[in-house]
Subunit: 303 residues, 2 copies
């Protein structure tokens, strides 16, 4: 397991973590500058933040700073009530894929969607099995473009509390079932001593979403290096006061993050540890510099 | 599948649903009277409500009304930081078992506990595997008394959002793994045409906690009639504004309750459908009679 205590070379900042500073939106260029000034080598930006600045300008700045992208947030939201909706999702996902490629991201992260309309408070139906089928089919269609573009797709299983409105893939096991069905890896014939085969489809492991799962270690082992495309960290607070925007800084909650990172690294994962914290009442109310400095300190002490 | 549309003979009221009326605590005798007046045949009371009135008085009233108990809430909370804590939990659970027997409950429902201290906001450690081992061992010890008393234990897998502070058994699969380890059923030698064997240890299926699980149907089939000891209903609201006390009335959320009830009844479950709603801002603010009448109506239309 890599030693993170001496530096922060493997730290990545998901830009949602500092989306706001003292409650005010921060433009993406200011976030990128602030990260680069601190020797942070990687980020994972959100599409809306990129769009607000302009893709070309963000791409230029990322290259100028020499920043890597540990992921691009996000594609997905594959579910809909009619063919037009499914088609619109397909089109939008291909644009996300193109943006990820332009920014040379490690992967496009997928938040797959759930019951159509639920995020707006009014689910169009209650058939989660139908949503899961639409997600499966949508990933399958996007995968053709992903392979052509050489841009892997990372399914992010979200915590089951988001099953209604954000993502109906809620466990590593389910995510890997989809991976294996759509992107089988010909492991049996491969040279076991050779390099791992590249997977076009894998998973983003966010400790916030999966820490509770009694099958987590087993499923991380099942994923293997080929399918472990991203590793996200924050912490689970007790009490958690909001289902979406009350995530904790690493070390402030109950997740044994080093243990989970150990399992991921046992599989050969050598990527960045990406901090993704949504925190309306706490961290988004603080000054961006304090938040980034705390991320660096906690990356060393608590990840 | 039973037809619930014509009457409410299979309705049970978990007394937490009407714990408050217009925001004021309601004594258990008033709840029992109000249920009996409406022809509700079963309830599931909470220990603190029973204690406030006195076990003997509650027992007398339950018998006078001819009320069945679809369960008794609750035992569990098996985790602790030292032997004294584990022993105290054992003692308390045996008392709960005795109370359940005095009230002739169908089962003692177990909310198994999680990281010690987390419910008070300060977890003593982050080792959820240790908590799970303590739960396993604690259920094993209680099971001896359960068998002697003829009072089955129903593990209630809670939603994963409660894994830190309330219950570290969060899926049907995990609950049934514990059941099979501690209370193996000698199915292989049993007469397949004979009556189902009684299990000392089973599960309480609450749709709120398990509706999202892609393996739900498979695990309900695995549980079989022997292990399906209780069936709880309410609904998942979008948005959900609070992790604990924002549960919805059946029909107001996104859970396909009849589908899940169908799966449970396919296994031969013939028990009550128990309404358990924690709703600080909505149903606990209404008048108890209105809430009970709504439970009856929704039991007919949406369960």
């Amino acid at each position: 397991m890599r030693d993170f205590s001496q530096d922060h070379r493997w730290l990545s900042i998901n830009t949602a973590t500092v989306r706001k500073s003292r409650g005010q939106e921060v433009p993406l260029p200011e976030i990128l500058d602030a990260c680069a000034r601190r020797g942070i080598r990687a980020v994972s930006p959100w599409r809306d933040q990129v769009a607000a600045t302009g893709l070309a300008e963000v791409s230029r700045q990322v290259k100028a700073h020499g920043l890597a992208l540990s992921g691009y947030c996000r594609g997905g939201m594959f579910t809909a009530t009619d063919d037009g909706g499914l088609k619109a999702a397909d089109d939008d996902n291909r644009r996300a894929l193109d943006e990820a490629r332009e920014l040379d991201a490690t992967c496009l992260v997928l938040v797959v969607g759930a019951l159509p309309g639920a995020l707006a408070g009014k689910a169009a139906h209650k058939n989660i099995a139908l949503s899961r089928q639409q997600v499966h089919d949508g990933i399958g269609r996007l995968l053709e473009h992903s392979r052509a573009a050489g841009m892997p797709l990372a399914i992010e299983p979200l915590h089951p509390m988001y099953a209604a409105d954000r993502a109906c893939i809620n466990t590593m096991e389910h995510a890997l079932d989809v991976c294996d069905a759509l992107d089988p890896l010909p492991r049996s014939g491969a040279d076991p001593e050779g390099p791992p085969q590249a997977a076009a489809l894998g998973v983003a492991v966010d400790v916030y979403h999966v820490w509770w799962d009694p099958k987590l270690r087993e499923q991380i082992e099942r994923a293997g290096r080929e399918r472990l495309l991203a590793f996200h960290v924050c912490d689970w607070l007790t009490p958690t006061r909001d289902l979406l925007n009350d995530r904790g800084m690493m070390g402030d909650g109950v997740i044994d993050i080093p243990r989970i990172r150990g399992w991921v690294e046992e599989q050969g994962f050598e990527g960045y540890s990406e901090v993704e914290i949504f925190s309306a009442q706490d961290w988004w109310q603080r000054e961006m510099g304090e938040v980034l400095d705390t991320c660096i300190a906690r990356h060393r002490s608590s990840v």
